[in-house]
């Protein structure tokens, strides 16, 4: 049985992947744990410990094979298979996401957007009335529901898609979704991030003012 992987390690997976992709794109075929550590601003021993969670990936003495490691991480993250997404909420954020070409190359395909009523397609993707959602989910194999609605209806929408069998939610609404524990939820909280930026900006200004007084 695979051992439980810590949240800290999970959070580093995308960064490993991104760095390895960068190396591959620059024609580099071998990399040491020390070099990876340097790029991620952690220790080489941490890198080796992280890798041990997934079997270790072979001879560190000679350095890791970039192409092989990239394939391993691609499989670990699940980028080796296709994911079908729907976006619920065809406002600015939903439309922006539907046109975000970065997803496609990683195997994430936006299949439909949903809004209050049928609308013109966006970026070639159909925009359907929300009352067609149930029928749509019965007929189509959707892995991930992206919620970009206002906060006040996000929870209701989440419950609905979960009831209809969707097991993963990417939540952009500014609320904490409470769904059953077998549903995976990842949040992108724009306003929280902006508030933290605002707080730190104010602190930094106050500090500067106190130093120049």
């Amino acid at each position: 049985m695979q051992k439980e992987v810590s949240q800290a390690v999970i959070k580093r997976l995308p960064r490993y992947y991104r760095y390895l992709e960068h190396l591959r794109n620059n024609g580099i075929s071998k990399v040491s744990s020390g070099k990876i550590a340097e790029m991620l601003d952690i220790t080489a021993s941490q890198v080796r410990q992280d890798f041990a969670n997934f079997g270790g990936f072979g001879q560190q003495g000679y350095g890791y094979d970039v192409e092989k490691l990239l394939k391993e991480f691609s499989s670990i993250i699940g980028l080796d298979c296709n994911h079908n997404l729907i976006i619920i909420g065809a406002g600015n954020m939903g439309r922006a996401l539907s046109g975000y070409t970065g997803f496609e190359s990683d195997g994430f395909a936006v299949k439909a957007l949903f809004d209050i009523e049928d609308r013109e397609p966006v970026n070639g993707i159909p925009v359907l009335a929300i009352d067609k959602l149930e029928d749509y989910l019965l007929k189509n194999d959707i892995d991930i529901a992206v919620i970009t609605t206002q906060g006040n209806i996000a929870h209701e929408i989440a419950c609905l898609v979960v009831e209809l069998g969707v097991k993963s939610i990417w939540n952009f609404a500014p609320v904490d979704l409470e769904v059953s524990s077998d549903v995976v939820v990842e949040n992108i909280s724009m306003s929280e991030s902006l508030y933290i930026l605002s707080y730190k900006t104010k602190q930094s200004r106050l500090l500067k003012e106190s130093l120049t007084d």
Copy 2:
């Protein structure tokens, strides 16, 4: 001198604010640390410890005054003053952010977008050529630069705005920006979040398959 506030507390500030706003909007004028704790899924003692970082906010025995607490948090986060933003990169994400009305009510105003060349205004906001950025920043008081460019030029853009006096960066590009320590950077990493969602989705599916075998 104010004591150093931990990252964990800073991360909770937006959640306190959001919850207090919710209470105020629902006409609730008093709230206990216990109730706040419940909503944030932490302990009441943690709430009181967090509040102690900012002076405590008065009599907990009678519960906190919601309106007063909201004003305190508004000031702590810096929402009691206006912030001028520019967005660099007028692609899908930049355009979506420029039209995000949620910011305005919190005092964040998008003043201009920048792209390779002058374009039609978006949501009533001018889109200027990037070579006008220097002149623009000399003539306008901008607090926050939002970077929504491709990863490969994000670092160069960050260095440029910092050189021109901007002290806060909201980074949507999938790279780690290395800027001087007096510059505040907050990252929104869409692809990292999606990769983590993908990883957890795969794990959850593998677990289910192993249980049904």
